[in-house]
Each structure stands twice: as C-alpha cells, then as structure tokens.
C-alpha cells in the first residue's frame, strides 16, 4: 500500500513538472531573457562593450530630461482625466443593473476593432483648423480653437485611446460590490456621499489600481499618438527611444533610456500597489 502511494505521489509530481516546465521555460525565454538583454545593452558601451553608466546618464541630458518631464506630465494628466471620466461612468453603468457585464465590456472593447492608428488619425479630422469641432464652433459663431499639434491634442488622444482600460477594471469591481453592503452602510446612517467615500471607493481600489496602471504605462511610453496629434514637433520619451533604434541605430543608448523608463514604471507601480492592501497579495513585487 505504502509503496503504491509512493509511486502515485511520484507520478503526480512528474505530472506537475510536465505541466509547469513548459511555461517556466517559456517565461524565462520570452519574458526574463529579453529584459536581461535590455539590461545588458543598457549597461554596456556602444564601442567595445565594456560596463558603463553613460547610457543611463543620458536621461539627465537637458533635452532628454525635458522630454521625460513632458511625458510624465502629459501621461499623469491623461491618467487623472481617464479616472475622472471612468469612475462616474462605472457607477452609472452599475446603476443600470445589467444581468451580465459582458455587454458593457463589449461596448468599450468594440472600438478596438477599428485600427487605433486610424482612430487617432480621425481625431486630426475632428480637431484640425477646418475640422469637425471648428466647423461646429463657427456655425454657432464662436471663435475657432487651435488644438491640433498641441500638448492638449496629445492628452486628448491618450485619454481617447486608453479610456476603455480604465473603465473596464473599475466597472468589473463595482459590479461585484453587493447591494447589501451598500444598504448596510445606509442603514448605519451614511448618506450617498459618505457611502461613496467610505465604502464604495475603498472597495473598488483594486480596480482603480489596475486602471491607473493600464492607462499610465502606455501613455507614458507612446510615440504614435504624439506623432499623429502632436505634428512631430512635440517629442515624448517613447519617440526618443524609438529614434535611437530606428534612426540613430544606437541600441545601447536606447536600452539605457528604456531601462530608466522601465525602472521608473516599476517603482510607480510598487508605490501604487503598496497603497492597495486589498490586492490578492500573490505578487512578489
């Protein structure tokens, strides 16, 4: 009997290894190794290949510093705007009491089936000098707005492109908060705003955190939106990195900047996650 159990346990362990080994190998090969490559290039010099911090220091060059600062500013602004739009929206959607949240998710994912570059280009049409907005404004006798090729246009593009990634996680958590919890708060004397502030908001923190992440990271690193809506004269950090690879062919410099950016993102995430004690607590970071 014992012998048989031992054999079974061994078989189980073998099966477990057979199951998990492929993914472990895959993650090492396609997630960890590529990142190590960036670290390697970022810390070695272009000629010779010796260890250097020059590539990291590039970020302190005045032009790069200004670029990074602008990128952070615009992405923080867009992230906050996304949150301000998405949270009331998710509350309104929750109030609809739909039977399944599949429909809502579909509604906000569907635009992705139109290529996002095209959708961003369409904003040129809406925003430009003789675009849709200015046509409407002049039709009612208001002065024209000059939005296209300004940071405002870029923020608008970021908000537009990444808003669904804020809406869906927040809606997902909000729709899971039970009515009885909200009624219990009302029963204990809380009015609508007290319920919102003390119960709903804290309970929806995990959704807010993942929404913030999913909007902030792509906003910070995008080079496409600034290309299209910034008219090429507003440089963001993503564009600088892209040019190091595609134009200057200076991989080491590009990796140095990427490394700084990556570390910056992970630090931001770590800070945000720290404030979110309710998250599942399974991640090591």
């Amino acid at each position: 009997m014992n012998k048989r159990e031992g054999r079974l346990a061994k078989q189980n362990r073998l099966r477990q290894h057979l199951l998990s080994t492929p993914y472990v190998l895959w993650s090492i090969g396609f997630i960890v190794l590529p990142l190590l490559m960036i670290v390697y290039y970022g810390l070695t010099s272009r000629d010779g290949g010796g260890f250097t911090l020059e590539n990291l220091k590039l970020i302190w060059e005045p032009t790069h510093r200004a670029t990074l600062w602008l990128s952070i500013k615009l992405s923080v602004i867009s992230t906050i705007i996304c949150l301000l739009i998405a949270y009331p929206l998710a509350l309104a959607l929750r109030a609809l009491r739909l039977k399944s949240n599949g429909f809502v998710i579909l509604l906000f994912m569907l635009p992705m089936w139109m290529n996002f570059l095209l959708r961003t280009i369409a904003w040129q049409n809406i925003l430009e000098k003789n675009g849709v907005i200015n046509m409407l404004l002049s039709a009612v006798g208001l002065p024209k707005l000059n939005i296209i090729n300004t940071p405002t246009a870029i923020v608008l593009g970021m908000v537009y492109d990444f808003l669904p990634f804020m809406i869906i996680p927040i809606y997902n958590v909000l729709s899971k908060i039970g009515d009885d919890v909200i009624q219990a708060a009302a029963d204990l004397g809380a009015n609508y705003f007290q319920i919102l502030w003390r119960v709903i908001l804290p309970l929806s923190k995990p959704g807010i955190v993942s929404g913030l992440t999913m909007v902030f990271v792509p906003s910070l690193t995008t080079f496409v939106i600034s290309d299209i809506l910034g008219g090429g004269n507003i440089l963001l950090i993503g564009k600088v990195i892209e040019q190091k690879f595609k134009m200057a062919n200076d991989w080491n410099a590009g990796c140095g900047l990427s490394l700084v950016l990556m570390v910056f993102i992970f630090i931001c995430m770590a800070i945000v996650q720290k404030y979110d004690k309710d998250s599942e607590g399974t991640s090591v970071w």
Partner: protein
C-alpha cells in the same frame, strides 16, 4: 428619475466620445476626394479599388493570420500555464505570477525592443515568425489572468470525481475541467486576438521590411496621407464585427427566452 436620466445621458456622452472617430472614418470611406480634409462628394470608388489594392489586401491577410495564430498559441499555452500555476505551491506560484505580470505592466515599446534584442542575440531572423512569437509572448499573460480565476472557482472534486469514475487525467481535463473554464478561455482568446489585431508597436520592432500589417502600412502613410481604401477596409471590418456581435447576441437572447419559456 432625474438621476437616472443624468446617468444615462452621461453614459451616452462617453459612448459618443468613443465612437465619434469611428463615424468620421466611415464617412471618409465614402469621400470622393483623395484628401482627408476635403469632401469630394459621395462615392463607392474606394471599396471597388480596395479589391485591387494588393498591398492593403496582403497587409490585411498578414494581420489576420498573425492575430489568429498568436491568439490561438497564446490561448493554448496560456491555459496550460494557468492549469500548471493553479497547482503550484505558494512561493513558486507567487514568483510565476510576478513574471506573468511583467508583460502587462511593461510598456509595449520595451517588450518590442527586448524581443528584437533577443532575436538579434540568437541570430533569429526577423519576419513573420518573429512577430508571431513576440505577440504570443506579450498577450499570453492576459489569457492566464482570464483563465486562473475560473480555475480557482472550479472545484477540484469534480475533476477527482471524473478520475474516480474511470476517466484518464487527460480526458477528465477535456471533458470536465475545460468546459468549466471555457468562458475564461474564450474571453482570453478574444482579448489576445483583439490586442494582436490592433498592435503596432511590438510588430514595428520585431518585423523585417518584408512583413507588413495594417498598422505598419497605416503608420508609414501617416505623413503623406492615408490611402482611402484603408478607410473602406476598416469600415467593412468594423461593420462585420458589429453585425456578428448583434447576431450572436440575438441568438443568445433567443435561446435564453426559449429556455425561460420551457421552464414555465
């Protein structure tokens, strides 16, 4: 009542914001003028010319193949990975979970660059396959995160009951566990497919000159002006998906109604 109205009005406003550019693109696909900012009368010309535009049709084909295969690959591998992770002990699981989260937290540009560097390091030539693998790696975590919660809900006892009734572990997985977690697998697949279809950045860094997808074609044309055939193609694609979704929804609603009537 007023509150209800404000809520619905607000939802409507956000939906208009999200779909306005799509409407603009649809209008542009019927624009007689080749230039975006000029209206040259209504025409079906671009739809006809689309059928002869080999460059765009090739890009479409490549895009669809990449999206389909990368999503399939990500779904199969991701589901297996989720099953494996679900059974891991606490610490290995936490480590794997963190690694899985990297591509989601990381920016696309860093993923694209890092994959390119890897290919370069192992002298793997860039092309269709390199893009396919990069997309798979980038989107697999989304599949895992969709499947894992479903696996956690699935009780181990049903799987064990299947074994007890004589099923082999493999057939127990396919007959019992998979149907249970299928909604998660499906939404993981849909997400991976949609993300791959819309991807530009990762493809941009991991392709060679011979591979072109819709995104890369559009990006290359941003400066000199988009060929109107692309508007036509996008309109067709979007409308097709919309119609498909409406049909599926109707069928689901019909089936639910039928079921409700039967239960009466």
């Amino acid at each position: 009542m007023v509150k209800r109205l404000i809520q619905k009005g607000y939802i409507g406003l956000v939906i208009v914001f999200l779909y306005a550019p799509i409407l603009v693109l649809m209008v542009l696909s019927f624009n007689g003028s080749k230039y975006r900012s000029k209206w040259g009368g209504f025409t079906f010309k671009w739809y006809r010319e689309l059928l002869e535009n080999e460059k765009i049709l090739n890009a479409l084909w490549t895009t669809l193949l990449l999206a389909l295969f990368s999503a399939l690959l990500a779904t199969v591998l991701g589901t297996l990975a989720a099953v494996a992770m679900n059974r891991m002990k606490k610490l290995p699981k936490a480590i794997m979970m963190s690694i899985t989260n990297i591509p989601i937290l990381n920016s696309e540009i860093v993923i694209g660059i890092s994959m390119m560097l890897l290919y370069f390091a192992i002298s793997f030539s860039l092309g269709f396959t390199s893009v396919l693998l990069a997309l798979t790696a980038a989107h697999m975590p989304y599949v895992i995160l969709n499947v894992l919660p479903k696996l956690r809900q699935t009780s181990r006892s049903t799987y064990e009951a299947a074994l007890d009734l004589g099923a082999s572990p493999i057939s127990a997985f396919f007959k019992i566990v998979l149907p249970d977690i299928f909604p998660g697998v499906l939404s993981g697949f849909m997400l991976a497919f949609t993300l791959a279809l819309d991807d530009f950045v990762i493809t941009h860094f991991t392709k060679d000159a011979k591979v072109s997808t819709l995104s890369t074609v559009i990006y290359a044309e941003t400066r000199r002006g988009i060929e109107p055939e692309i508007y036509a193609l996008s309109t067709i694609m979007f409308t097709a998906v919309l119609v498909l979704l409406i049909v599926v929804n109707r069928m689901k609603a019909g089936a639910a109604k039928k079921l409700a009537e039967q239960q009466k």
